[in-house]
């Protein structure tokens, strides 16, 4: 069991909590690799339907732990490798997970921590939450997909302002830009409520909705249409579709098996 995370299961929801409050949940190499493992295991566990990511203490996640010795040795530094072997796999693990990942953003998200929240499928934030970029203040530029996601939601000019200055994006700004789903005094409770609703949907539907929506943001209309068609052909033969139809006719909640 990793010391970097608290992992608890509530019914079919797995809550993974960044647990380094003393450093505002900044992540070392080990912490990232353990996080990847935790999310993968939750993804493979058939008892888990939804994953919630949250942070212990005042912060959600503040990105790279700048005290990690692996990024200190300036003679042999390769931050590209840090991204290729640690951060990008973490981001991809969240985005590629078959399970929905909800970010319950309890406090500040900074640097790559912003991108970790944005890699999730749904985001609930505390009203006092700020997103801070910070990269340009340490001589780096944003990473972990921040350009891709933020430019699509904030637009070019607002993203520029966010990346170039130290001005934070507040919870209310994030909400007005549709970058988060909701603001809540208790984001974890709100995330659990949302997760419980998602857990009632057919698992294969959930899985394909996540994949196909991600794909639709990257491809043209024809490709998105083709994928929808392929998905529907497949799901039409699933036993959950039969059960869904039957439950609909019998006016009862469906009992899905995920097949």
């Amino acid at each position: 069991m990793s010391t970097f995370y608290k992992i608890e299961t509530k019914n079919d929801i797995q809550i993974i909590t960044f647990n380094r409050p003393e450093v505002y949940n900044a992540l070392t190499r080990e912490a990232k690799l353990d996080g990847i493992k935790a999310i993968r295991e939750a993804g493979k566990n058939p008892a888990v339907k939804v994953i919630i990511l949250t942070g212990e203490g005042k912060a959600f996640c503040t990105g790279q732990d700048l005290n990690d010795p692996t990024i200190q040795n300036l003679a042999h530094i390769d931050l590209g490798r840090t991204l290729e072997t640690e951060w990008n796999p973490l981001i991809n693990t969240i985005r590629d997970s078959k399970k929905i990942v909800i970010a319950a953003v309890n406090g500040v998200a900074a640097g790559a921590g912003v991108a970790v929240a944005l890699a999730c499928d749904l985001i609930i934030a505390h009203p006092k939450v700020n997103f801070i970029s910070g990269f340009a203040k340490v001589g780096l530029s944003p990473d972990c997909g921040a350009h891709y996601i933020l430019s699509r939601h904030l637009g070019y000019f607002k993203t520029m302002e966010f990346f170039l200055t130290n001005r934070p994006l507040s919870a209310s700004e994030l909400q007005s830009r549709n970058l988060i789903n909701a603001i809540s005094e208790n984001p974890l409770d709100e995330a659990i409520k949302l997760a419980q609703e998602i857990a009632l949907s057919a698992p294969l539907s959930v899985e394909f909705i996540k994949k196909n929506l991600q794909q639709s943001m990257e491809v043209n209309f024809a490709e998105s249409l083709a994928r929808e068609t392929s998905t529907q052909r497949f799901l039409g033969n699933s036993s959950d579709y039969k059960e869904g139809l039957k439950a609909f006719k019998e006016k009862r909640p469906a009992n899905f098996s995920g097949t």
Partner: protein
């Protein structure tokens, strides 16, 4: 046959499915597996009922290369005696269409086997590569030749020299694969594609395979001559008469394979 599974998906009379079946070793292509595969393919090629063959692996891997355990201490003489590429050469004897359906890894011999098929359909989890350089050797079953023809010199050189893999969307962009589907739906979509081909005139399908493959072996002028002769040849088939008649009568053709 232990290393492959031969089935008829959805009980379709004209479509055969071969699954590589060494899941514990990501379907590594042992000499035995390749011999079984070729034996099965030759039988299917002779079976008049079969019109299309689908070759696939499992969710994790199409095939992750040759069986390294079999080769690690081999000498050149061992390899000559083992003659493991004989089965690979026999793949080119198959005249019916073979579709590779690739989910997960198609690496080294796995990539070469996929490229030996007539076209590749990929799930979005597919990864292609020739990583032989990472274990001190080179592709040996057509990797440097077929990959170069499929994706061009620069990309092929880089892949073979670095051992880096390409993902499904990259493979689609480079024309290595014909189409990409969500991984879970790949087999069903492959079957739909196979069905379309199985509904066409079988002799003409074989001639198309022959003509397209000829384009890699000849100058354009000779290839065009070859194609024209195959075109004329289709007019000796009853299926050509049926196809054109059905078109004029605005009905679906009924092909007999003659």
């Amino acid at each position: 046959m232990q290393n492959i599974k031969l089935t008829q998906p959805y009980q379709h009379p004209h479509i055969a499915l071969i699954e590589l079946n060494r899941p514990k070793v990501l379907n590594a292509l042992s000499t035995e597996l390749m011999n079984e595969l070729v034996e099965a393919l030759l039988k299917l090629d002779d079976n008049p009922e079969v019109r299309v063959i689908i070759l696939t692996g499992d969710d994790r891997a199409f095939a992750a290369g040759a069986d390294i355990a079999q080769m690690v201490t081999a000498t050149p003489v061992d390899q000559i005696i083992d003659n493991r590429f004989r089965s690979w050469q026999q793949l080119s004897l198959i005249t019916k269409p073979i579709i590779a359906a690739v989910n997960g890894f198609a690496l080294g011999g796995g990539c070469e086997l996929a490229m030996n098929c007539d076209f590749i359909l990929a799930g979005d989890t597919a990864k292609f590569g020739q990583p032989e350089i990472s274990i001190g050797t080179t592709p040996g079953a057509g990797g440097t030749q077929r990959l170069t023809r499929a994706i061009g010199k620069s990309k092929s050189m880089m892949m073979c020299m670095t051992g880096e893999m390409m993902n499904a969307s990259e493979a689609l962009a480079y024309g290595l694969v014909a189409k990409v589907y969500p991984a879970q739906t790949l087999m069903q979509e492959t079957f739909e594609v196979a069905k379309k081909i199985a509904d066409k005139a079988p002799v003409a399908i074989r001639l198309i395979k022959e003509s397209v493959n000829k384009s890699f072996e000849t100058a354009l002028k000779d290839g065009l001559d070859f194609e024209r002769r195959n075109f004329y040849l289709t007019f000796a088939s009853t299926d050509q008469k049926e196809g054109m008649q059905a078109f004029l009568e605005k009905r679906e053709p009924k092909y007999t394979g003659k």
